[in-house]
Symmetry: C2
Subunit: 108 residues, 2 copies
Amino acid sequence: MSDKKVEKCGERCALQEILDVIGGKWSMSIIYALFSGKKRFSELERLIPGINTRMLVKELKNMEANGIITREVFATVPPTVEYTLTTKGEKLEASINELYKWGMEYVA
Amino acid sequence: MSDKKVEKCGERCALQEILDVIGGKWSMSIIYALFSGKKRFSELERLIPGINTRMLVKELKNMEANGIITREVFATVPPTVEYTLTTKGEKLEASINELYKWGMEYVA
DNA sequence: GTAACCACTTTCAAAAGTAAAGTAATGCCT
DNA sequence: AGGCATTACTTTACTTTTGAAAGTGGTTAC
């Protein structure tokens, strides 16, 4: 009766968590961009070609809610916001690099 | 002017390829199910709770087009169709297992 | 004073996803 | 012989998500 989540869905639960974090169309690009250190909103926008503001905002919010990034606001002028990977986020590096290698190898 | 794809987008191209394959809402679940061997359409439907027929069809077609699964039809009655991972598909196992471990570790 | 910078928000159309029912060929049961 | 089940999908109608573009508000450089 304890260990709820693991007991309840185990494998599939992990899968759900993963998909919620990296399943989105842009999440992986964002995480990838953040591997090289914290970034401001506009930096991310420039680093990820094709993304639009709305989606970047949404994904960042989702990632913050999922605990894989932190958002820090600076009362500068103009205002500055920095996004950083948490430990949980950083731990995705191995997985994403693996996927990445696969992608590089299999681009037809 | 040659080596088009690599030259044109390099890193980002690999990312696109990856997302096209595992970025869809259900792709990873399907690939995961196929790691344990070929499956029929209805087996996949049963193995992946929550998916609907239309989406399963769509994802399978997409995966076939992406060369990560093969589709084999048997003229039995009722007809049987088997889906199998290609080598390209199988090569995703390491990456997905990595992600998987992450998911298991960080399910809050 | 007006144009630009930053980090968003809003609006609306388009694309993607979901649910549920339908299709065609056959076999099994009664 | 009629009806139901099985398999692998289609089709239709609908909801949700995403995308493109313009707008907001405070400040500062020109």
